[in-house]
């Protein structure tokens, strides 16, 4: 079970003055059950890339395989793919439109042609998975808080029972607590539900904390693809392309420069604390 991109190119507005290569020769394989972070500055191709994963954008070159099958072959069940690979867009709460939260979340399964009862069952299940309490089912989506709206929008995708959840900056504009709650919920779905998660983020701290693997996009190409430790070791190169390492990584580099015997491949606060205590001879 995997998603595989083979030499994918995407040419934007071909034949016009706006023609631009948005993706260049992307080769990427994501296995079922992985938690992958995608980082890159605005315009680096992240959003274009993720829209290839469920066939929303068709590559102008190369192929995309879902579970070994070429999704561009004739007669490929594209609808099925779109429910298996759920895409949560940026600011998804702007796409809520129904009278009640429950109806809104039913929209996906209803489109899958399921009977009303089954739709509601799946919607309720999805709301629970997204961490939205039952009492909100009959609320108008517009009466929810920012964080709750975003949960409702994520539930709308979960109701289609995807195997892969792709999220484009799911925490943009949320307060710190709301951000942690959403990310913890996503992490729970990944851990407990075996869901593959692909997270596009501008927060280096967040991808360092949650992702097993980080893909760095730059100018439509993959610049790095590795564990957080491997990727953030290139912090100077990352800065050149508008990114950075988590703040703790910089602290470790500074400490080492000043003669403290610490590792510099540290990407989370917990690791940093352990490493500093050990270096000071006050290990656990």
């Amino acid at each position: 079970m995997s998603i595989k991109l083979e030499h994918v190119n995407y040419l934007y507005s071909p034949g016009t003055a706006y023609e631009r290569m948005a993706l260049k020769d992307i080769c990427l394989e994501i296995q079922q059950g992985e938690f992958v972070g995608i980082i890159g500055h605005t315009g680096s191709g992240k959003s274009t890339l993720i829209q290839h994963l469920n066939g929303l954008i068709r590559a102008t070159g190369g192929n995309v395989y879902y579970n070994g099958e070429n999704i561009y072959r004739e007669g490929y069940p594209m609808r099925e793919l779109r429910s298996q690979v759920g895409l949560v867009f940026q600011y998804p709460e702007y796409q809520l439109f129904e009278e009640t939260v429950l109806k809104d979340v039913c929209f996906g399964p209803k489109n899958q042609g399921l009977p009303q009862e089954e739709c509601e069952k799946r919607a309720r299940e999805a709301l629970k998975l997204a961490g939205l309490k039952e009492k909100y089912e009959q609320y108008s989506p517009f009466d929810l808080s920012g964080g709750q709206k975003r949960r409702a929008a994520i539930a709308g995708v979960l109701a289609m029972r995807p195997r892969v959840l792709v999220l484009d900056e799911p925490t943009a504009g949320l307060d710190p607590k709301g951000r942690d709650e959403i990310l913890d919920q996503i992490s729970y779905l990944h851990r407990e539900g075996g869901l593959t998660v692909i997270l596009v983020s501008h927060s280096m701290e967040d991808v360092a904390r949650y992702a097993d693997r980080i893909v760095v996009m730059n100018g439509g190409e993959i610049l790095y693809n590795g564990t957080p430790k491997e990727v953030f070791a290139h912090y100077r190169e990352l800065e050149k392309i508008g990114l950075a390492a988590p703040q703790v990584t910089y602290i470790m580099h500074d400490l080492q420069e000043k003669g403290m015997k610490v590792r510099t491949d540290v990407t989370t606060v917990e690791e940093a604390a352990d490493e500093i205590m050990a270096a000071l001879g006050r290990g656990k």
Binding site: G40, H41, T42, G43, S145, G146, G147, A172, G173, L174, D175, P176, K177, G178, R179, D180, H202, M204, E205, G242, L243, A244, P246, Q247, V248, Y250, I251, D254, L255, K258, G259, M260, V269, E270, A272, A273, I276, M277, A279, L280, R282
Partner: protein, 284 residues
């Protein structure tokens, strides 16, 4: 120092309406707020989604008028209709989404829109446009189309549009929420420059704790009230309390806090990585 913004028992209530537009209740978004911001200060306002930050900001240039209490901006009561334009010219606003506040088809036209509306003569408008674009480091883009700019560049254009009106105070409502790390840095550096070079009073509303460590004063809002007020160090010393208000502290502050709890002699309220690195090196 003169008072730039002063509020006395400021209250703002929304009317809740049912589907037939009958008032069914009132909800208090701002609850007895008393703040005083001096000319030339850099003040940050923190608070979770729905805490009343943006509602407060909208009172500072009379987009909203108080339900009770009074707001003075640059000595002018915002409630007096004849002062409206003076108030709006004193306090310029920059919002979260750059795409919603750029209207011109060419960068310089967009920046000229504000002064033109104020009735500034044409020659003077062009002078101001040039000055403002220089101040935000965007002069080389004056003939470009705004929609081809990055998020950070667009926000800088939006800021130029505000400073072209020569405000004494600039209110930024989550100006970096939609930006990548480089965009964020560009905007913050611009704001810092304005403060130092042009002596503009800056009021920054944000969810990013790292952005407020250089502020002169920080206000924390919760349920429409100002619940904490102090220097960044005073505020960020209270990690637990901030968490209760759904906020956070910078990563370096969390790390310092963890190390202190594990027995290292580190004071509360560490804000910069340089401080922590120096302390740790002394312990080494």
């Amino acid at each position: 120092m003169e008072s730039m913004v002063h509020t006395e028992n400021l209250v703002f209530e929304y009317e809740k309406q049912d589907e037939e537009n009958h008032v069914i209740g009132r909800s208090r978004a701002i609850d007895e707020v008393n703040i005083d911001i001096r000319e030339g200060q850099f003040v940050a306002i923190l608070g979770h989604n729905g805490s009343g930050k943006s509602t407060l900001a909208k009172h500072l240039n009379a987009i909203l008028l108080p339900t009770q209490g009074t707001v003075w901006v640059n000595g002018q009561n915002t409630r007096q209709p004849e002062k409206l334009w003076n108030v709006r010219q004193s306090a310029g606003m920059v919002f979260q989404n750059p795409d919603n506040q750029i209207i011109g088809t060419v960068v310089e036209e967009d920046v000229g829109f504000g002064p033109e509306n104020l009735g500034v003569e044409t020659d003077r408008i062009w002078e101001r446009v040039e000055e403002s674009l220089r101040a935000v480091g965007m002069i080389e883009y004056r003939y470009h189309s705004p929609n081809k700019l990055s998020g950070g560049q667009k926000q800088r254009v939006a800021i130029a549009g505000v400073i072209a009106m020569r405000p004494k105070c600039i209110v930024l409502d989550e100006p970096t929420a939609m930006l990548d790390p480089v965009g964020r840095r560009e905007v913050l550096r611009t704001v810092e420059e304005l403060r130092r070079q042009e002596k503009v009073t800056v009021i920054l509303i944000t969810h990013y704790m790292e952005e407020v460590i250089d502020a002169d004063r920080v206000f924390v809002m919760d349920h429409g009230r100002v619940v904490m007020e102090g220097t960044p160090r005073e505020i960020f010393s209270q990690v637990e309390l901030l968490k209760r208000y759904r906020l956070d502290v910078p990563q370096v502050t969390i790390l310092a806090d963890k190390l202190r709890k594990r027995g290292l002699p580190i004071p509360a309220g560490i804000l910069k990585k340089e401080e922590l690195v120096e302390l740790l090196c002394r312990l080494n």
